[in-house]
Point group: C2
Chain length 197, copies 2
DNA sequence: TTGATTTCTTAAACTACATTAACTGCGCGT
DNA sequence: ACGCGCAGTTAATGTAGTTTAAGAAATCAA
């Protein structure tokens, strides 16, 4: 069964982009499956296939890859109100290349690939909804690329803090460093320098 | 009037994602406007509003920003078969933050913001089409981010060559460097080192 | 509470990349 | 043909960020 507050969060999120009728809301709800991931548990590992899009209703996850030298690189954090999946794997139904791990005890609402295709057919509004979601995600990613090209690590760290103030409390420096593309050692040095002023 | 070969390129591109009826094709075509940009001309400048999505039928463009120190950073190249706009400006109809400049004499087919909204209403299939386009663009950008975090400039350059072999011929090293996030001077040094082996 | 594991800090040596500047060559307008 | 400006090269020097290693602090299991 889907907990009421969890679904409310999702419904409110959807309603920011498209207006659903009560019937459409019921159809949508029937396609969702709740799922819990304990802290340090995985929603996805490389080699598996990303079979669902997950909307986070509680907790926080990170999507990351491990490069050929064993270093982790964080693609995104997903806390309450965000969607997460390995989109490439989800779309192609081929093997995923990244890990999705819970940083806290986490709860998500999932919609499977086939269920989503059904939803697109029964309620075409959702084509629009996910298109708009993707537009925003694309713009955010483009800004991250531009930010990475234009700024030093110290600037990127400060902009990260300004942009995700609540997230910073919940993340380890190690993970913030892996998101910014620097080593934890250097992030520690940066923090000291920034405080010294 | 829209040149036949230009529209054919676009129609073929669309048909890779959705199947249009002859009527739908006609509706679509009627909303497009052809546009030429001479080499070194601008499709968009910061402060203007991105009023159209542009599909490149001939030539090549680059989208770039200039940071507070006056350095250019290239967000993307768009040659034949690619779409380009400042998506953030296009969606919000607020001032653009980037330049879009033609690197060669270029021809595009444009669809305006209001025309696109009409198209979504008249032919909802296009919601699906642009959603799929965005999915692919999102995945490509995510890979660029991961690539930037995981690899050195030398590796990124080689991967760029492998990934866009035809584009490399048409671009100056200066522009490739601005895309990779390094200085032209350093790219020159990299090339020498790579050749030396 | 304890020991064990992980995270964070600090410092020293090192590397990837930037900066500056001087020089080469090429395309372009006149 | 000339001169000019811009793209690319090369070398010297400078700096942002890494690596390694060791100790301190926080977190976790039992």
């Amino acid at each position: 069964m889907i907990p009421e507050p969890a679904f409310n969060l999702l419904a409110e999120h959807v309603s920011r982009h498209v207006r659903l009728t009560p019937t459409e809301t019921i159809i949508f709800r029937a396609l969702l499956v709740p799922h819990r991931i304990p802290r340090k548990g995985f929603l996805l590992r490389p080699g598996e296939i990303s079979r669902a899009e997950s909307f986070v209703t509680k907790g926080c996850l990170r999507a990351y890859t491990i490069d050929e030298n064993g270093f982790e690189h964080i693609l995104l954090f997903a806390s309450e109100g965000w969607w997460v999946s390995d989109l490439h794997s989800f779309l192609t139904q081929r093997q995923a290349t990244c890990y999705i791990e819970a940083l806290e005890d986490t709860e998500v609402l999932q919609i499977g690939k086939t269920q989503l295709e059904m939803l697109y057919q029964q309620v075409p509004k959702f084509e629009r909804f996910f298109r708009m979601l993707l537009q925003n995600a694309y713009v955010a990613q483009q800004q991250r690329i531009a930010d990475g090209l234009a700024h030093t690590a110290a600037q990127r760290y400060q902009r990260f803090l300004a942009h995700y103030p609540q997230l910073e409390q919940r993340l380890s420096q190690k993970h913030i460093a892996a998101y910014l593309g620097i080593t934890p050692v250097f992030l520690s040095i940066l923090k000291r320098k920034l405080l010294a002023r």
